[in-house]
Point group: C2
Chain length 476, copies 2
């Protein structure tokens, strides 16, 4: 009903404009009259719900429980851990008036909740028997960004933040790595987005973390997107917030913590990796509607096969709908395309006379005319698998084509200026070399690869001795 | 692990203290260092997740879609509808600083989102073909309360707010009534709480509504709790926010709106209706864990039957866990009790020698020794049904015992002072008579009953002519 049929700018002509065209044409987000904030419309929110469903189940299966912490953080509590407040101070929103009265102490809207979880854990954790506590929350957070882009950067966004507390360094570090693996699995198996994982440099890590592990994805235009992060805190927060426990030797010890999160930005990644000039393309495993059935003509035979097909697919757990609105078939096809429905089934009078129905894949636009008596459940399930795998393979192939190895900064410059992508290059560990790289169209270190062979022994920037193989990229 | 074993105050001795004892002993909520805000701990949040799951499915089945609106509302937008801002102004929190800068216009944290939905609908609705739009959101809201009580009244709480827009008065009024019915069904069939429904008086209706329908429940101590509301707005907001559409006659018309909501307060209702001096009692349909299996002894026979029973129940959709922690059986029983697990299954070496296992109901504490070869799936499912029905029947019986008809204000005074409950009495429609009633321990009109026979023709307060049969109660 609310379909906007306006043309979508070509992706190869103007990527940024194409992106916002897809966002609005597929009715994912609407700009609001609240500066820097957006309205998640039904189509956009449904993708987030699907992401939540999958991730929440992965979190629970790995022993995590959901909780909910307050939205507001009193200034004093926020200030206890110095690096965190320094990192976030410039971008928080402060509540100064409540119930018509000036507050004695201002409170910020959570930009992240390490402070509140740590304060809570301090009151709960007494003994090693209480540990680990592995909690997660789904909520919105606020960071006062100046420039905003739908899903990628906005003042308010939706996310999950896991916060765990452990009795040993080893266990906390394992948690940090396990959560990274869960994110990687989610990106690759559900979003059909290949990712690179590794450790952030000191400069790029989370404020307050001992180290940050990251999931990095490459978009269609070669630009990098930090897609999920998992932080190891060691005892930094437990010392600041006084989270102590009696260990097995009956001695007081500060606890070990982690946090990890991913956001509605993942919807942006889905768009920028898979979508095309006709709108959204969604992998079947994350599509709120996996199939649409479009009746053409209204003979009894059409109606009966439409209902029969609908019921068969519905009962085997496939999410789908019938588009029996009053619009023309052409309009319905365009709408299903712009909304990224993975499989379209047309059941029409003329086709049925020939004993066939028509199936169209959204990702490749391929059409298949199949016998109307085909076992539709198996057919659709197989096709969904094929689409899911093909989408991943296509994204992986493109990423591989746009991943380069460089030993000379001039090569990096050449690449980032003409056909950007991931650049693998050695780095000496000096932040000044990172700053030099940044002069090339804002190129930043994405992560340090942990188990890959060095490609040289010299820093790509300064030529000094280097041991770290780093992935570099222009970033969103 | 985190079980606090402290004694729970007797419910009949000190109801308020009993209530907070149950809340903390069952680890539902923890007070936080953010004044007026609480931490939803895993046990409390899991109940909310279960409520969300059931209600969300009921909303979706009745054609509603989820969206997400911004957290902040600019002052000007908030002020467009006068009654709403007057109603909420004294209790909102204002953000005045963002990103270290004083804002040009302050923004409040949403106390409710009529403004944002209306502003959005104004941009979306053009023609009767766009209508209805039936959207809902799950989020937190903030109201700067002075006195707070866990679940019942807090500065921040979790809720859902549905906001719909329609092409006709008739359809919008139907929606208002349909949502009331959905809430009633949820309370009665899932929470096992009998409710009274009706219309709020002018004095008690929602700021900005033409009328408010309400779901009212009675707690164990006879006090009333407003438990969910459904508002009909007519064209009030559409005129303030300019939501116009071309109707079938091709004329511009203002749209008709509703909103409806329920909150985490429902968890408070669950406690105050069903729980007892040993802690939480949950109806099986809303319990996050419906069954706990407690092994006693560690013989192979015990282990094998424990696992077998767990798998059978799990595979038939029952949520359960095995308590194989190191605590004593007595401790485990107490923990399952305080947490309100509806059914406890003990599988022990000595029982098995006699060929039996022991089942205990949380609601009545009745124990059943059953043959170990009993069809456990059918047995547990039947018992869950029985518990669910018995809990409802018990709550209904108590409410009926504490529901009175009065024709004389002295009777009302007598009842509210000694054994409060719902008082049905006639009312002339004058707000001054409501104020007179309020002098009796804060007694307020709960709702006007719509389809019940009048019990007299005179106002219980002033003796003048009266047509409305009103339910009155002391309120939370």
């Amino acid at each position: 009903m609310l379909l906007s049929n306006k043309a979508i700018t070509s992706r190869d002509k103007d990527f940024a404009k194409w992106y916002t065209d897809v966002v609005t044409s597929a009715h994912l987000i609407e700009y609001s009259n609240v500066k820097g904030c957006t309205v998640f419309e039904p189509n956009g929110y449904a993708i987030w719900e699907k992401m939540q469903e999958v991730l929440d189940s992965m979190f629970k299966q790995s022993g995590h429980k959901n909780v909910y912490m307050p939205l507001l953080i009193p200034e004093n509590l926020m200030k206890k851990e110095g690096e965190l407040i320094n990192g976030f101070a410039p971008e928080v929103a402060w509540v100064t008036i409540g119930g018509e009265k000036e507050l004695d102490e201002k409170m910020c809207i959570r930009p992240t909740s390490e402070t509140l979880f740590s304060d809570y854990y301090a009151s709960k954790v007494k003994s090693y028997r209480d540990l680990p506590l592995k909690y997660n929350q789904w909520c919105s957070v606020m960071r006062w960004e100046k420039e905003t882009r739908p899903f990628l950067r906005s003042r308010e966004f939706l996310w999950q933040e896991g916060h765990t507390v452990h009795a040993s360094k080893k266990e906390a570090e394992e948690e940090t790595h396990n959560m990274l693996e869960i994110y990687k699995e989610f990106f690759e198996n559900y979003l059909a987005i290949p990712v690179i994982t590794g450790k952030k440099t000191e400069k790029e890590k989370f404020a307050g973390a001992e180290y940050t592990l990251t999931v990095e994805a490459q978009m269609y235009n070669g630009v990098s997107l930090q897609s999920a992060t998992s932080h190891y805190f060691g005892q930094k927060f437990s010392k600041a917030y006084d989270i102590k426990f009696l260990n097995k030797e009956n001695k007081l010890e500060y606890a070990y913590q982690t946090s990890w999160g991913c956001t509605t930005r993942m919807i942006g990644a889905l768009i920028m990796v898979h979508s095309d000039d006709d709108g959204l393309v969604l992998p079947p495993k994350i599509a709120p509607n996996q199939v649409v059935i479009i009746p053409i003509g209204d003979s009894d035979e059409v109606k009966s096969l439409v209902n029969d097909t609908y019921n068969k697919l519905k009962n085997s757990g496939i999410s789908l709908y019938i588009d029996d609105s009053e619009s023309t078939p052409g309009f319905k096809f365009a709408e299903a395309e712009v909304n990224g429905i993975p499989i379209r089934i047309e059941i029409g009078t003329r086709d049925l006379e020939k004993g066939i129905i028509t199936i169209t894949r959204r990702d490749t636009k391929e059409k298949y005319q199949i016998d109307k008596d085909t076992d539709i459940i198996t057919y659709v399930k197989d096709l969904m698998n094929t689409i899911q795998n093909d989408m991943y393979a296509k994204a992986l192939k493109r990423r591989e084509e746009k991943t380069y190895e460089c030993t000379d900064i001039k090569e990096v410059e050449e690449i980032m200026n003409n056909n950007p992508g991931f650049v693998k290059a050695m780095w000496c560990g000096n932040p000044e070399c990172e700053l030099k790289m940044k002069e090339i169209k804002g190129t930043k270190s994405r992560c340090i690869l942990e188990n890959e062979k060095p490609i040289s022994d010299k820093c790509v920037v300064c030529g000094r001795e280097a041991h770290d193989l780093v992935v570099w990229g222009i970033q969103y």
